[in-house]
Every structure is written in C-alpha cells, then in structure tokens.
C-alpha cells in the first residue's frame, strides 16, 4: 500500500491544494508541502520495511482482470532513488515558488501532479499503467509551460506536447501488442519477462519503447522540443523538466529494454551507442554557441543525457552504474543552474549572455553558487557528475575505445561551454543588466540542498551505488543471457 501512497499522496496533495487555495490562496502551498512530505515519510516507510531480494517491495491489486490489467507497483534501489529525487525536487520547487502570485494554488497543485505522475512511471510494472502515467506526466508539464511560461510559451508548450505525445504512441502500440501476444491477455511486465517475447518482435517493440524514452531523454535528433520548453518554462518548470521528466526517459531506458527485450537490446544497443556518441558531442557543440543562458544549459542536458544513453547501451556494469549516477547528478546540477539563471532573470529580466556580467562583484554568493555548479557541469572530481562520467568512460573502454574517446572529447568541450556560461555571467562588467541583489535565503536554501547533494554523492557515492546495484546487475545478467 505504501507504494500506492507514493503516487496517491502527491496527487491528492494537488487536489487538496487547489481546494484549500479556493478558500485561502496561501494555504495551498502548505497543503502541498505537507502532502509531499507525507510522501517522503511513505518512502521512508518502504525503506524501513524493505524486503530482502531483488525488489524492496511489490504491490499487486486487481484492476480490470478481464482485460489483463492490474495495478502492479514495485520498488527497488533504482526506483527508490528516482522517487526520492522526484519528491525532493517537488518540495524544492514548492518552496521556491512560495511567494508566487499568479494562480499560486494551481501552480502548487501542478507541481504535485508532476511528482505524482512521474512517481507512477518510476513504480509501475503493469505496462498499461506505465503507459497511462507516461502520458499523464505530459499534462502538468504542459500546463507549467503554457500558463506560467515566458515569451512564446504556447508554441513551446505545444511543441513539447506534440513531440512527446507522438513518441508516446510508440510505447502505447508496443504495450498493446505485448498484451495481446500471450496466451492470455496480460500486461504484467514480470510475467512478460518470464515468458519471453519472440526475438524479431523484440526489436520492433523495443523501437516503440525506445522512441518514447529517447524523445523524453532527449537524444538528438529528437531533442528540438527541449531547448524551447526550457527557455520558455518558468524556473520551477525548468527544474522539474531537467530534474524529473528527462529522468523518466532515462529510467525507462534503464529498466525496460533489458527487462522485456534483452535480445532486442542486444541488437539495437550498438545503434543506441552511435546515437548517444553523436548526441554527446553535438549537444556540447551547440551549447558552445548559445546566447540564452537557459538554452545553453538545455543543450548541456542533451549532451549529458546522451552520455546516459551511452552508458545504458554500453551494457556493462561500469557504464550502467555511471549512467545511473549521472541521472542523479545531472538532476542536481542542471536544476541548480536553472534555479540560478531563473534568479538572475527575476532580477534583471534577461538571460542573454551578451548583456549579463559582473555578478562576482555585485553578488558574491550568487557567483560562488555558479562556480560550484558550473564545475559540476563540467564533471569536476568531487562532484557526483564526475563519478558518473568516469564510470561511463570506464565502461566505454570495455565496450569500444572510440566511444570512450568521444566521451573524453566531450569533457574538453564541456569546459568551453561551461566557461562561456560562467564567465559571461560572473566575470567582467555587465553590458546592460546588473544584478544587485544577492541570493535571498529562500533561494539559498534549495541551492545549498542541491550543493550538498552534488558534493555528498560525489564524495560518498556508496548509498547511490548500493541502491543501483540490483538494477544494474539484473540488466547486465539479462544482456549476458541474451547474448548468443
């Protein structure tokens, strides 16, 4: 039941926040925080009552037995980390938008629903349920961009929706094919995994799944929605996009291909590697030429998530572990950068790197925070980002040296775009826009939390690694078993 609570609590939190907000607008944020915090407690409960074995906890409830659908939720270390991340980012964004004025109750409700839907993705093992949450996730994000966005927000929101909804069809079609393929109609992922699918069908089904996941990841050439969505989204929207939505794509790629289609993965992984390698360099190169700070970070996300794709498609222990760690590390560092750039935007109403500058003189705390997360973005040792990159590169050395060298080259290019972002904002003198107000305490709190996360997991990654280990192991074993 705790697993259902993990989805239901944030969802109800959103509804109650909306109701409470009708009566008293400031009550909404408190309701949201309370419900999200209850979600954290439920997560702690699952940790306390974790069972030994592959899955920490599993829930099966009948839903529509005639149609082979049931509610199957399961949690292991990977899901646990992802759910923890989503709850943490949910709380963080609510705190960050504490004093929001524009339709605040709806904003806080939307944040809660984003958390609820992505928790659903991280826990669902009934394929219809997965597809359901997968599509559901688009709604709150769409609202975040379309209602509270900047500039050309409607177009960005629609672009986001079209890309992801069309890609979601691939998942949906594959899910229904799988459901109908067995002796009885069943969408139980474990049962399907047990039964095994015909190898040729696996390739097509994996393509369907991968389309959905790779658009969400996103990896070139499916990434064009991301820069627009990030640029136009409000700060909290960008944080949830980078920290949560992209991670659902990575999670899906991490979990389902090896679980359901190990033979298909065996065939398609080399192409995934090529795509990832291309995306890593391509994203980094395009980032080097951006003038909008948020767009720049969006393209770095493309580069980093492409590394995740490489790690997953590498299919060896090191690379998968590295991919898992980058997922968490990137959630912290990209969220923090979006937060900081958002804070700059709130003050001077521009994100144009040609107009900003001189933060170091006028706002030293800002500058220090930028320095930390800029170094995290370029994978400075001591940050979790470095650990992830280093593990992926190690894995790539086992797979193919070409990919290892490409990742190493991207590390060099990351300094080019990293310093561009950093020094255009922090160094020099402002050409137009001078930030005079340093980070407030309400902004500083989330920054400090993200900083601690980045450094803590960089120095003491044992918790992450232990958590990821079962998922990584079963992925490696599945691939090993699938190798002819």
């Amino acid at each position: 039941m705790a697993l259902i609570a993990l989805i239901l609590l944030p969802f109800l939190g959103g509804i109650f926040a909306l109701i409470a907000g009708k009566a008293e607008p400031t009550a909404a944020r408190i309701v949201a925080v309370v419900f999200l915090f209850c979600g954290v407690l439920a997560l702690a409960w699952t940790y306390q009552h974790a069972e030994a074995g592959r899955w920490m906890m599993m829930t099966r409830e009948p839903w529509a037995p005639a149609m082979g659908m049931s509610i199957i939720l399961a949690i292991d270390g990977l899901s646990f980390i992802m759910v923890a991340l989503s709850l943490a980012l949910g709380l963080l964004t609510v705190v960050l938008s504490w004093n929001a004025t524009d339709r605040a109750p709806l904003l806080h409700a939307t944040l809660c629903w984003t958390v609820a839907a992505s928790n659903g993705v991280f826990l669902a093992f009934d394929l219809v349920l997965l597809a359901f949450f997968w599509e559901l996730m688009l709604v709150p994000s769409f609202l975040l961009i379309a209602i509270w966005g900047h500039g050309d927000r409607e177009a960005a929101a629609i672009k986001f929706l079209i890309y992801n909804a069309i890609a979601g069809l691939g998942l949906l079609a594959a899910v229904f094919w799988i459901g109908a393929s067995g002796p009885t109609v069943s969408f139980d992922a474990f049962e399907v995994a047990e039964r095994g699918l015909p190898p040729t069908a696996q390739i097509w089904l994996l393509l369907g799944f991968a389309l959905a996941f790779m658009v969400k990841l996103p990896v070139p050439p499916f990434h064009a929605w991301l820069p627009d969505a990030h640029t136009q989204a409000p700060t909290v929207g960008s944080i949830l996009l980078a920290g949560l939505l992209l991670k659902t794509g990575a999670y899906g790629l991490f979990r389902f291909p090896t679980l359901l289609f190990p033979q298909g993965m065996e065939v398609l992984a080399p192409y995934g590697l090529i795509l990832g390698a291309f995306g890593t360099i391509y994203g980094a190169l395009v980032a080097c030429g951006q003038t909008d700070a948020k767009r720049l970070v969006a393209y770095t996300s493309v580069a980093h998530m492409s590394v995740v794709l490489m790690g997953i498609c590498g299919g060896v222990h090191f690379s998968l572990m590295g991919a898992g760690i980058i997922m968490v590390a990137h959630a912290f560092s990209a969220s923090a950068l979006f937060l900081l750039i958002g804070a700059v935007y709130d003050r001077v109403h521009t994100r144009d790197l040609r107009e900003l500058g001189g933060l170091q003189r006028s706002a030293p705390r800002f500058a220090a925070a930028f320095a930390l997360f800029f170094s995290a973005t370029l994978a400075m040792p001591g940050t979790a980002n470095f650990l992830g990159e280093a593990l992926v590169i190690t894995g790539m050395f086992q797979v193919n040296w070409l990919y290892a060298s490409i990742t190493l080259v991207s590390l060099v290019v990351s300094v080019v775009y990293g310093t561009r972002l950093f020094q255009r904002i922090v160094f020099g003198t402002p050409r137009k826009a001078q930030v005079t107000v340093d980070l407030s305490f309400r902004e500083l709190g989330p920054v400090v939390v993200l900083a601690i996360g980045t450094l803590l997991f960089g120095v003491l990654p044992q918790f992450l690694m232990t958590g990821l280990d079962p998922a990584v192991n079963s992925a490696v074993e599945a691939l090993r078993a699938a190798t002819p």
Partner: protein, 670 residues
C-alpha cells in the same frame, strides 16, 4: 578512535596536510564570521603556513626511513571491484610535498603584504583560491589512489582558471584563464583515460596496485597508457606543443604565477611522470618521445625567453624551458635528478617571480621588462634576491643550486644520448643569457626616476616581503647541497659523467653571461633588439605587417619574442574551425540553428503539410455542402411555383392529371 566506521590512526593525520589549506578555503570562501581585513590576512597565513607543520613532521620521519606508506581512508564497492581511497607518504611524496608546503607558505606570506590595499571581498577570494590551489597540489602529491590524484590534479586546473582570471574586469585575464583551463583540460582527459585504463588493468585504484599492473600490462596496453600519461604531463606542464597557455597566463597576479610555475600546476606534470616512472620507463619509445620533446622545449623556451619584452612572459618561457629539462631527465631514465631539479627550480622560480613582482609592483609600466630598471637603487634587497634567483636559474658553477641539479640531469642525459646532451647544453647557454639579461636590465638606472614621479614609494621593502625573499634567496644559492641527499633518498646516485662534460656544462652558463653582455653592450645587437621591441610593441594591437623588419637579427628577435607565433597557428588550426563549426551548428549566416534537431522537425512539418494539404478543402464537407446547395436551389425553384393564384394551381392540377394519365397509358402500353 573510530569515526563513521573509519578507524583513525596516527597516520590519518596525513589528512590534515591538505585539510588545513582546504579549511582555509572554506572559511575564507564562505566567510561565516564576516572577517575583517586583518583577520582575513591572519587566516590566509594560517591556511598557507599551517600545512607545513604536519608536513614537516611526516617528511622528517620519512627522510629517516619511517615513511607511513599507504594510509587507506575509506572503501567503496563498484560491482566486483573495490575502490579504496588512500593517501600515501613515500619519499617522493615527502620531498615534493615539503617543497610545495615551503613554497606555498613563502608565497602566501609574500602575498599578505603584496595584496595590501585590495578590497576585502577580492582579498578573501584571492586567498581562498590560493588555499584551494595549494590543497589541490598537496592532494595530488599525497594521493595514494588514482581518484584522489585526479581530484587534486583537476582542482588545480579549476583554480588556475579562477586565479588567472582573478582580475575579472580584464578581458585579457579572462581569456588567458579560459585558455589555460581548456588546454590543460585536454591534458586532464589524457590523464583520466590513462588512469581509467590502469584501473581496468589492476581492478583497483590504489597506486601501489596500479603501477605494477601498468608495468605488467599486456596486449599493447602499456604503450598506450604510457603515452597517455606523457600527454597528460605535457599539457599540464606546458611543454611543446601544448605550451601556449602558460605565457598568456601571465595576466594573473604575480603571486599566482609564483605558485603556478614553481611548485604546483606546471610542475605537477613532471611530478606525475616521476610518480608513474616505472610505467614510463618500461616503454623506451615513450621515453624517447618524452626526452625529445623535453629537449626541444628546453631550447625553444630558453630562446623565446631571451627575446621577451615582458618580465613575466620571460619567466613563463623560462618555466617552460626548465620543466623541459625535467622531462628530458625523466625521458632518459633519471626521474631522481628531475626531482632534485624540481626542488631547486621551485625555490628559484618562486623567488624570481616574487622579487620581480615586488620590484615592478605599482610600476606605471606594468610588468614590462623595462619596469625592472632602477631596481638596484630602489629595492636593493629585492634586486639581490632576484640576482640570486637568476644566478641559480643560469646555473653559475658550484655556487648556485641550479648548477648542481642541472649537472645531475646533464650527466644522466650524456650517458644515454649525447645529441640530446648537446641540445641541453645549448639551452643552458641561452638560459644563462636570458637570466643575465634580466639582471642587467634591473641593474640599469631608471631613466624615469629623474622626473621625480617614478619613485613608486609603495614598493619599498617591507618585512613581510623580505622574509620570504631572503629565505628563498639563500635557498636558491644553497640548494645545491640538497641535490645529492634528494637523489640518495629516492634511491639513485648522481651519475658519474666524464669530467669534460662537467667542464663543458659549467662553461656553458659563463658563455651565456657573455652573450647577455654582448646583447646589452654591442651596439649592432642591442639596436637590433631595440628595433624588434619597437616593432613588437607597435604591432601588438594590430598584428598586421606594418613595416618589414630590417634584418635577419631583428627578424629572429621578433619571431622569438612572439613565441614563433605558435599561438596564431593554433588559432588558425584549432580555434577558428571550432568556432566556425559551432557557428554553423547555431545557424549563423543563412543556416538552420541546431540542424540535427530542427531539420527533422521541419521535414516532419513539411511532410505533415504535404499529407494534409489535399484534405484541406475537405471534400466530404464540400460534397455535403454542394448537395445542400442543390437542395436549396431546388427548393427556391419550387418555391417560385407557390404563387397562390387559383389559375396557377388549376393549371398544375391539369398538368399533373394529364401527366398521370400519360404515365398510366404508357405503363399499360403493349
């Protein structure tokens, strides 16, 4: 004692060495207590000098044969591999670490006075970053495993960026910092690759497992690893062909250069190769490449230094050249001699930077070499210190430390490859020449002082600055006595070179001194230099060729003063294509921004339009609409019949009846 499952022993006090500097960084960086100016300086001193104390204790024990060896800190598990993070204290770590601590303490002591008058936030930032820089180098030196080693290595890269760009309003400083960061990052990528490959070989990150595993590596792995290590060292140590960032890095404050060049970042590459020398020495080809590049760098750096117009650029090329000597020594299998030279070089190079910085501080000419003029009257003690450093750099026989360590290296080189020895001796001649040239300029009277305004009284000698200068000055002269013990400590002996090579190598500096006098006082040569200097100054802003250099000599001087324009070459070969590519990918000009993302999107959109366009008129709707229109028309036509007049209705009835009759007749017709 047990903390967090970590059983602490006495040896864990090794952690305090980098931690003190790191604590200084945290305290100054976060500034929780709102420190005042005086307190910032005091804290800067504590963080800068503090690491020296535990370092002395541990190094002393190590020099007496009681090294602590590996000190595991904690252990991680990655799948089947265990990753044990550790520090270590072996003779190399003790030697290098002690040098770093001493130089770091001296530089920070000097900076406390040098940075007087800086705004408080900048002062905090400066010392915080200096502490982090120091902590990075100490971490790298004391590292017992590859992760900690790489952590220290990269921290230095980041700090060098932030410190070179310390003056954040200077576009030149920012550009120089970024250049240093990007170029050394290439080296970092090489090193990271080498360390990860070693990790895969050894299945461990501990250096005492990695290095034997690297030596024993099969299947052609060892040459790759050795070459990658060499590449990492070349980039970080600013060796040819990756040296161009170092002369630009002069835009940073002088104490930063003093630390960067002598004991930390630039020297880190050499230290890395000393650390991994068993792997390098197992690969003769890599050794030969290292030695060749080292010799090339030594002579190129010395030649370029001779013609520099800026005292800091001169010293930068000098560092490049001196580290080249170390690489040469490592390349011929004498890392111990390189280590000895590392120590001596650290002393005299920090001395040179600090004394030159002291002399030219507040000079209206900046760091132009002519700002050194008048030093012997204005700052006599600093001038003496500079001369001592220059003498050591030149390697004046017997009385200077530089001679002893250079002798040890040259002896080793002679035993392996006389051709490289010849190059190294030629480089020694040039080294003495440029060192002497700088001293001669400093000894000249300052023409500006007669005008009365050039007597910059801010830079009078003070205790804070003179203590480190005096200490390092004596060190630069007396360090010769250290060479033999150092090599003994590291388990090698000073090679016995033939007497005549020692003689030649001792005469070489004297020849160099003579050349410097000739350059200064033979009119033809001096005028040529002056002319090259004028041209270089005129064309610095607009590097177009404005007037043809007069002769061969001027051309040579000009070419070397510009570092053979290798920077421009890289600009053309690497930077411009990169910028072009990035611009193209971002749709500058008439292209599509982000083509990989947007071209498919545009194609999809066009496809969608192409598919839907035929349906746009919506034929079904049109059909129904048209049908409805006909009905309406019919209805309108029929309505016209409804005239309401009786005769019309009668007529219709008659017509209808007739029609029906006709129909009935027709149907019954047979």
């Amino acid at each position: 004692m047990e903390v967090f499952g970590l059983v602490l022993t006495y040896n864990h006090l090794l952690l305090t060495i980098p931690s003190i500097a790191l604590a200084g960084f945290v305290m100054l960086g976060l500034d929780p207590f709102r420190l005042r100016d005086f307190e910032v300086r005091a804290l800067a001193l504590i963080g800068g000098v503090g690491p020296l104390i535990p370092m002395l204790v541990f190094a002393n024990a190590c020099f007496h044969g009681q090294c602590t060896g590996m000190v595991p800190i904690f252990t991680l598990k990655v799948g089947e591999s265990t990753v044990a993070l550790a520090l270590q204290m072996d003779p190399l770590a003790a030697l290098v670490g002690l040098t770093v601590c001493v130089i770091g303490a001296a530089v920070i002591l000097f900076s406390v006075a040098y940075m007087q008058g800086t705004a408080l936030p900048d002062l905090r930032r400066f010392f915080a970053l200096m502490h982090l820089f120091l902590a990075g180098m100490l971490t790298m030196v004391l590292a017992g495993d590859s992760i900690v080693l790489f952590l220290g290595w990269e921290l230095m890269g980041l700090c060098s960026y932030l410190l070179i760009a310390y003056n954040t309003t200077s576009a030149e400083a920012i550009r120089a910092g970024r250049k240093a960061f990007i170029m050394t990052r290439v080296a970092d990528a090489f090193l990271l690759a080498a360390l990860l490959l070693l990790f895969l070989e050894a299945n461990s990150v501990r250096l005492d497992h990695l290095i034997p595993a690297g030596v024993a590596a099969q299947d052609g792995m060892r040459p790759i690893i050795a070459a990658l290590l060499l590449g990492g060292a070349i980039g970080k140590s600013a060796q040819v062909p990756m040296h161009t960032w170092l002369p630009s890095a002069m835009a940073g404050p002088t104490p930063v250069s003093a630390l960067l060049h002598s004991a930390t970042m630039v020297a880190a590459g050499a230290v890395l190769l000393m650390r991994f020398s068993p792997i390098i020495q197992a690969e003769p080809v890599v050794m030969a490449i290292g030695a060749g590049l080292g010799a090339l760098t030594a002579i190129f750096g010395a030649a370029a230094a001779l013609f520099q117009q800026d005292i800091k650029r001169l010293l930068a090329y000098s560092s490049i050249s001196q580290i080249g000597y170390m690489m040469l020594a490592i390349g011929v299998g004498a890392p111990e001699a390189a280590a000895a030279h590392f120590v001596v070089h650290a002393i005299f190079k920090s001395l040179l930077f600090l004394s030159a910085g002291h002399i030219t501080h507040h000079s209206p000419r900046g760091t132009d070499i002519m700002a050194m003029r008048g030093a012997s009257q204005r700052n006599p003690l600093a001038f003496l210190a500079f001369s001592a450093g220059a003498a050591s750099l030149a390697g004046l026989p017997v009385i200077t430390g530089g001679w002893w360590s250079k002798e040890a290296m040259l002896g080793a080189v002679w035993g392996v490859e006389p051709a490289l020895w010849t190059v190294a001796v030629l480089a020694a001649v040039l080294t003495a020449a440029y060192a002497t040239r700088a001293v001669l300029i400093a000894a000249m009277p300052d023409p500006g002082s007669h005008d009365g305004h050039a007597d910059h009284d801010d830079s009078h000698d003070t205790g804070y600055t003179l203590v480190p200068l005096a200490f390092l000055g004596f060190g630069a002269l007396l360090a010769g006595g250290l060479v033999e013990p150092i090599m003994h400590l590291l388990g090698a002996h000073v090679p016995h070179a033939p007497l005549f090579t020692i003689l030649v190598a001792s005469i070489a500096p004297l020849v160099g001194v003579a050349i410097a006098f000739a350059l200064a006082y033979v009119p033809a040569l001096a005028n040529g230099l002056q002319r090259a200097r004028d041209i270089a100054r005129r064309t610095r802003r607009r590097p177009r060729r404005q007037d043809k250099p007069a002769g061969f000599w001027v051309r040579i001087a000009l070419a070397f003063s510009r570092g053979l324009r290798i920077d421009t070459l890289y600009q053309i070969v690497f930077v411009w294509p990169f910028v072009k590519l990035v611009r193209w990918l971002n749709g500058y000009g008439r292209g599509v921004a982000d083509p990989a993302g947007n071209l498919p999107a545009m194609a999809a959109l066009r496809l969608q339009r192409a598919i839907t366009a035929p349906f746009a008129p919506d034929w079904i709707d049109r059909t129904w609409t048209a049908f409805g229109g006909r009905i309406l028309a019919l209805w309108a036509a029929l309505r016209r019949l409804q005239t309401g007049r009786a005769r019309d209705h009668g007529l219709y009835m008659a017509a209808g009846t007739a029609g029906l009759l006709l129909l009935a007749w027709g149907l019954t017709w047979h």
